[in-house]
């Protein structure tokens, strides 16, 4: 017999989003669904320990959660009906249709797609979207989310309360958007997931470069999105991009905690399972016609992953992919990356000219990687004094201590050769 505690942990990770989505649909309330599911888990902890875990733990929890939810709705209705100004809240609570308990063997519909679109609704701020997605779909506790974003727990709790009350009071719908809006709404969902990934991959604050949990969570949620919308190639592009970047996680920081750029990384520490899966996904979606942002970025990451040494990197192909990306994405950061690829393919002078062109509208002035990349090319061109100034600018702008350390190390190297 499987250990009850372990089963419960696994079920919590795998099934939380699915069960909460169903309970929200049935009850029409995020808060009541959360409470009911918490009670169901508490009940599972007690019963499974005594009787062993049930055949289908997810269904067991859904059924018990459903029962707890119905109790809560009844209590809530009695309470709100007594207070006239809360009456419309009582209307919101839906208990008419599904009062009969669905039995444990029933197959529940998957409501997670509604949930993800509600959590990433455009009238919620991006911070609220991220927090709500992690809380509901990912099942992370408020404390865990607060720690991941280095924020006091009450602040994060407040953010979640606000977001949930906005969903309730502004009547943000619980549904998959209509076809004509689906494209743009999906872009928002993907952006939220990628933001979560990046927050875990290159933490913007603090002295820890990598916060593994958030990246792993983003990958898990993106897998769910792929499963729910298997005909959207960009979902797979996003998943591939995350896997390929994540494959280099261990190599990004050396044993002294210093940042290792792609060129310096020990490629034997790259995670080959993730690389294989990422490349397979890239090859699969690139053949499907529509080529989006994430797919091209994933293709670029795949080219890097395929090179056994930095010197073997197929830079001309990367330049070509960045050119393609520039066509569909006018961001100066893409232009900057294109310029760096040109320099890496051998033409440093041209690369430097393109970097300056990328910042022609001064939109990269406060972006530390612009100055860091410039510094790097100036160093290679032996324009040491200019390189030093650029490194200093980059150090002043970098917020992550590990990245600052890397830049200082470079600055020191240039300074030493000058003397």
């Amino acid at each position: 017999m499987a250990d009850a505690g372990q089963t419960l942990d696994r079920v919590f990770r795998d099934e939380y989003g699915r069960i909460i989505a169903t309970l929200i649909r049935i009850g029409g309330s995020f808060d009541l669904a959360e409470e009911a599911l918490q009670e169901a888990f508490a009940s599972a902890a007690k019963h499974w320990k005594e009787d062993g875990p049930p055949q289908n733990p997810g269904a067991w929890l859904t059924t018990v959660g459903h029962r707890k939810l119905l109790d809560a709705i009844r209590r809530e209705k009695t309470r709100t009906e007594k207070e006239p100004e809360l009456q419309y809240e009582a209307e919101r609570l839906q208990d008419s249709g599904e009062t009969t308990l669905i039995d444990e063997t029933a197959v529940y519909s998957d409501d997670r797609l509604c949930l993800v679109f509600t959590c990433c609704h455009p009238s919620l701020s991006r911070e609220a979207q991220v927090a709500l997605t992690l809380r509901t779909l990912g099942g992370l506790t408020t404390g865990e989310i607060a720690r991941a974003f280095i924020m006091p727990e009450p602040t994060m709790a407040q953010r979640l309360v606000r977001a949930k009350s906005k969903i309730r009071l502004a009547r943000i719908p619980y549904e998959v958007p209509a076809l004509e809006l689906l494209g743009e709404r999906l872009v928002a969902v993907q952006a939220v997931l990628y933001l979560i990934f990046n927050e875990g991959y290159a933490a913007t604050t603090g002295d820890n470069l990598v916060r593994t949990d958030l990246s792993a969570e983003a990958i898990r949620l993106t897998r769910v999105l792929c499963e729910l919308m298997p005909h959207e190639p960009e979902n797979f592009g996003l998943l591939a991009l995350m896997l390929l970047q994540d494959s280099r996680r261990a190599a990004r920081v050396n044993d002294r905690g210093e940042l290792m750029i792609l060129e310096e990384q020990d490629r034997s520490t790259w995670d080959h399972n993730k690389i294989e899966e990422g490349i397979r996904l890239v090859e699969r979606v690139l053949g499907r016609g529509f080529v989006g942002n994430y797919q091209i970025q994933a293709a670029i990451a795949a080219v890097h992953a395929e090179a056994r040494t930095a010197a073997e990197t197929d830079w001309p192909q990367i330049v070509a992919l960045y050119q393609e990306l520039k066509r569909i994405n006018g961001s100066p950061i893409v232009a900057l990356n294109h310029a760096v690829a040109v320099a890496m393919s051998g033409d440093i002078t041209c690369g430097l000219a393109l970097i300056d062109k990328a910042n022609a509208a001064r939109r990269l002035e406060h972006y530390y990687l612009y100055h860091a990349s410039r510094a790097d090319l100036l160093r290679r061109l032996d324009r040491k004094r200019e390189a030093m100034t650029a490194y200093q600018r980059a150090i002043a702008l970098a917020t992550n201590q590990v990245e600052q350390q890397y830049l200082r190390r470079r600055l020191l190297e240039v300074t030493e050769t000058l003397q």
Binding site: P122, L124, S125, A128, S165, L169, E184
Partner: protein, 121 residues
């Protein structure tokens, strides 16, 4: 003449008032509404949900932007309105003074553009 009375106040301040006090203010609103209805001046009115539930929509160059808002730095938020029909601005202002929030927030009195009257002029 139609006027809209826009009622602004600091929501934080409103939330900080105890429930008994809020009830008193709601009752005052109720009496005012009854008087306006009796005098044939009331057209419409409502309290609004908190500004934290608002969405802002902007369309620029054919691109739609839906955002959270309004922004936190504004001190007073639109919290409700009355739509009234009176003879003059003097009457509208007199009614605005009876709105309880005038004592703690701001009531903005705005005449509506009357297309029908303009067409006759």
């Amino acid at each position: 003449m139609k006027y809209i009375l826009l009622i602004y106040q600091d929501e934080k301040r409103w939330s900080a008032i105890d429930a008994g006090e809020q009830q008193k203010i709601y009752a005052e609103f109720g009496k005012l509404r009854e008087r306006l209805v009796a005098d044939g001046q009331y057209l419409d009115g409502s309290q609004l949900q908190l500004a934290t539930t608002a969405s802002n929509i902007r369309i620029r160059d054919g691109k739609e932007f839906v955002t959270d808002g309004p922004f936190a730095e504004t001190h007073e938020q639109l919290g409700g309105y009355f739509l009234i029909e009176v003879n003059s601005a003097t009457d509208a202002i007199a009614i605005a003074k009876q709105i309880p929030i005038a004592r703690t927030g701001t009531v903005e009195v705005r005449a509506l553009v009357d297309r029908a009257a303009e067409a006759h002029a």
